[in-house]
């Protein structure tokens, strides 16, 4: 099931076409860095009657489509993009997965 989820995109446009890459980037607040948003959401989930909710951390999930590059350079360059733009390395961590996907 995880695998299945990983293979499919949450966004449309996966049908047919020539292949490229679909990168899924996860940006999360660094350990120990205050996450006011997560804090607020946790609080309201409690008041909504979900006492079982513990720590809530909120980050970004991005789907980036890449065309005509090798998997290797796709990875190298994506890491670069994360460092330079997609994540704020001062307060955020990131990780990503790259899968083959049709180019729309």
């Amino acid at each position: 099931m995880p695998i299945f989820l990983l293979q499919r995109s949450s966004f449309p446009g996966d049908e047919g076409g020539i292949m490229g890459w679909l990168a899924r980037v996860y940006v999360t607040p660094k350990a120990g860095v205050l996450d006011p948003q997560g804090k607020a959401v946790q609080h309201s989930l409690h008041t909504l009657g979900y006492p079982e909710v513990g720590d809530v951390r909120i980050g970004k999930y991005m789907e980036v489509r890449l065309a005509d590059v090798s998997r290797e350079s796709a990875e190298v360059r994506l890491r670069e993009m994360c460092d330079r733009l997609l994540a704020n390395r001062v307060i955020e961590d990131f990780r990503f997965e790259i899968d083959a996907a049709p180019v729309d």
């Binding site: 006011p36 948003q37 607020a40 959401v41 309201s44 008041t47 909504l48 909120i58």
Partner: protein
Amino acid sequence: MRWGVITFPGSNDDAQTAFVLERLLGESVVRLWHKDESVDGLDCVVLPGGFSYGDYLRCGAVARLSPIMRAVEAFAQGGGMVLGICNGFQILCEAGLLPGALIRNRELGFSCRRVHVRVEEADTHFTNRCRRGDVLDIPIKHGEGCYIADDATLRSLEAGRQIVLRYTDAEGRVTPEANPNGSLGAIAGIRNARGNVFGLMPHPEHACEWLVGGEDGRKIFLSIIAAQGGTAETPAVPTSSKVLSGP
């Protein structure tokens, strides 16, 4: 008439809204707390601007779940008048009391400026003191004011004459430059099908005094008073530049 102005944690324009109603228009105002559970005996409930719950997660997402909102929903279902300004508009959309959603401005950033809005419908509870086509000069100040809705919703809004205000230039022309946030159809304010719930991004409460922001915003509040069969009492204090109190 009796107004209720709700304060959510993070509401910022609640005091200003109450000030306009009480001090400038001589209305009676009940300040409501988000934990209150009743809006009984009120003629109109205002959800003010601000950053309820810090705008965390989504603007209005958390506020719409606060206890008072159950009362507001019932009140609206019963035909009670509800006015949502800026963050209040966002809350009304999140609560499903108004269709569509308000997302990040086209230019992404927060935008604080005077805009012009054209009155599309004058025979509403909220604009009856204007004429169709009137252009109002009112400030906006928001980062998430881009109104969107699916085609079906948009069509029914048009058909139901629910689009009350559109962003235009000073001459009342809809142009890309005059649309400050990329809203679909330059929509600045809409009402529900029944016509008793109104949400708008511009801030009429910040355009009720010549000295600060102009006076076009009064027309919205005066319309609501008229709709309730009232006329604004002679204000408790003169409404000239010499107004003695701020919030």
